[in-house]
């Protein structure tokens, strides 16, 4: 088959360019290698370039939420080129290595953290058939890679030879390692329902999006992904007012920008993962299978658009949370994790497994989803009741303590008055 530009453009619109190139180039051994390299370059440059847009979007959104205007000078009325200008500035700045820094750890950390946040995109399906690799352990792979990113934070914190950096790194590790637990556990519920860890299989299993089947699991996943990306209200890792900037305080120029790149990329990735696991990924009422009368499969393109719209909707919620919530204290953060999220997710997994096993096999997807939803709502109500009971108990104890103290104060005051009266005599 010879190369024709019309066919090539058509395959681009159908997102089947790789197959088309395979047909054109034949079966030579280098074809797969070249296609793989093209895929890697495309996905990584997508990740690196979209961050410029994300930073602008986040600044603009937060500004609007806080009744400010936000970037509005560089690049027209909306300040569209603000982040480009910022990137230029960062590129031209001097890279400083502090005295006494551990050179290996200090210089390796920024690169490793970007590599780990790029590696995770390999298993995200952007559209039907458009996925880096469809691993049978997809979600497990993501969790494994994200656990490596914890190490890079320790590298940065220790390598900087700065007490604030080290404190920030310790906090990060405590936070990331503990919130990994509810995250893994909550994602186990969709895995159970889809009977697979592959991202593609999970999307295919969502006739009803899993957020409507197991909303509690989705909520817990969202909370722990907020913590995993270190964003408000869990931004104790870089709490400006306490430890200045956390583990990346000593970095300058592009190395500092690398950490920000990884953070934004991680947030977008978590939105994408949320879409894949709970919102049905590229699926939108069968639009992803759309075909024109001439057999022109435009559905893939629609799937891609659907995925991106959903991903940016979730990203908007991330920004929304960041713009409105205050930071939690470190003990509140750990208590929330170990005393609330983990027990609830364990109950959720148990309920999902038992309900799924008890349901008859011939049952339709929708009624199955309904039963799961019911069990979720039940667990939610019970949890809220327990919380209310606990809160009331604590309030009663507090009031008792306060009134005891008040009595003591009144007694002291009365004593003071009487002794004063005695002195006046």
């Amino acid at each position: 088959m010879s190369f024709s530009i019309v066919e090539f453009l058509k395959s681009l619109a159908e997102l089947t360019t790789a197959n088309y190139l395979r047909q054109v180039w034949g079966n030579a051994p280098w074809v797969e290698l070249v296609l793989d390299i093209i895929g890697v370059v495309l996905v990584s440059s997508f990740g690196l370039i979209i961050v410029i847009f994300l930073i602008w979007l986040e600044r603009k959104l937060i500004a609007r939420i806080q009744d400010r205007i936000g970037p509005n000078r560089v690049g027209g009325k909306f300040g569209l080129l603000q982040s480009v200008a910022d990137a230029m500035k960062l590129l031209s700045k001097e890279l400083i290595t502090p005295n006494g820094a551990d050179k290996w750890a200090y210089n390796l950390a920024p690169y490793l953290i970007v590599i780990t946040s790029l590696l995770m995109w390999a298993v995200i399906p952007f559209a039907p058939g458009v996925v880096g690799v469809d691993l049978n352990i997809g979600l497990f792979y993501i969790l494994a890679i994200s656990s490596v990113s914890v190490v890079t934070i320790l590298l940065a914190g220790w390598g900087s030879n700065n007490k604030y950096a080290l404190l920030g790194a310790f906090r990060s590790v405590a936070q990331l390692v503990s919130y990994e637990v509810p995250m893994i556990l909550s994602v186990l519920v969709p895995i159970l329902l889809a009977r697979s860890m592959s991202t593609v299989d999970i999307i295919e299993a969502q006739t009803v999006p899993f957020i409507l089947v197991v909303p509690l699991s989705a909520l817990i996943f969202f909370i722990s992904s907020l913590a995993e990306t270190g964003r408000t209200p869990f931004d104790l890792l870089e709490a400006d007012s306490e430890i200045v900037a956390g583990f990346h305080i000593e970095y300058s120029g592009m190395k500092f920008a690398m950490f920000f790149l990884a953070e934004f990329l991680g947030t977008l990735f978590m939105s994408g993962l949320f879409v894949v696991v709970y919102l049905g990924g590229y699926r939108f009422f069968g639009l992803e299978n759309f075909e024109t009368a001439g057999g022109f499969a435009l559905g893939n393109l629609f799937g891609l658009i659907t995925f991106f719209v959903k991903m940016f909707l979730v990203y908007f919620v991330f920004v929304w949370v960041r713009a409105t919530l205050p930071r939690v204290r470190i003990d509140q953060m750990l208590n929330l994790n170990w005393k609330f999220l983990v027990p609830v997710t364990l109950a959720l997994i148990f309920a999902a497994a038992v309900v799924d096993k008890l349901l008859p096999t011939g049952m339709g997807d929708v009624s199955r989803a309904g039963v799961h939803l019911f069990s979720n709502v039940l667990i939610g109500i019970v949890t809220l009741e327990i919380l209310r009971w606990h809160g009331r108990k604590q309030r009663v104890e507090q009031e008792a303590r306060v009134s005891r103290n008040l009595e003591g104060v009144e007694a002291l005051a009365a004593e003071a008055v009487s002794s004063e009266a005695a002195a006046a005599h």
Binding site: P29, E32, D102, W104, A105, L135, N136, I137, F140, Y141, L143, A144, I145, S147, V148, V150, V151, L154, L155, W158, L166, V173, V177, E180, M197
Partner: protein
């Protein structure tokens, strides 16, 4: 051919970082090299088509155990300043032990040489080198999971490990529980 080249690169990487772990006097760097060595082992698992094992290696060894080691190093600051030799008084004895363990493993592997499925059949292209059928590979995680709960396979060791972990959990809660006199 490609497989062999990648295998050699990954093995050299694993062994070289392992060498650094033993010889480097900076404990923090040694721990980092240990992580790199674990990464190399994960690479070997990938070459053997054991994706789940590779991911578990990353999650458990790099994500958990290495971090524990680094924390231990950081919390004992004196260990960073030591100038002692990396060798104790018995280098000869340990060398003999290491060599004999290696010899035993090599001997066992040599005795099992008729099971080596290393040679690809003549005329098979490199891409289809895999000896394990793809259907089994796609299902390997499910098979692994089933073998953990099947009475014919590993249910006993699996449950014993669970009880051990449960005991550790209860023990840590008991240790961390505020005592009456602390209040």
């Amino acid at each position: 051919m490609t497989e062999t080249i990648i295998f050699i690169i990954v093995s050299v990487f694993t062994l070289a970082t392992g060498w650094i772990v033993v010889t480097n006097r900076n404990l923090f760097h040694a721990a980092l090299a240990l992580m790199a060595s674990f990464l190399g082992v994960a690479g070997l698992y990938v070459l053997l088509d054991a994706g789940f094992l590779a991911a578990a290696q990353l999650l458990v060894y790099i994500g958990a155990i290495s971090i524990l080691i680094i924390f231990a190093i950081m919390l004992t600051r004196r260990m960073m300043q030591t100038n002692e030799s990396a060798f104790n008084a018995q280098p000869g004895l340990s060398a003999i032990t290491a060599v004999s363990v290696f010899a035993i493993i090599a001997y066992i592997l040599w005795r099992m040489r008729q099971f080596w499925p290393i040679e690809p059949a003549a005329g098979v292209p490199l891409a289809s080198r895999t000896v394990v059928p793809d259907s089994l590979l796609m299902d390997s995680v499910a098979a692994l999971g089933r073998s953990f709960v099947s009475p014919d396979a590993f249910v006993l060791p699996f449950e014993v490990a669970s009880i051990l972990l449960l005991a550790a959990l209860i023990g840590s809660i008991w240790v961390a529980w505020p005592k009456a006199e602390d209040k």
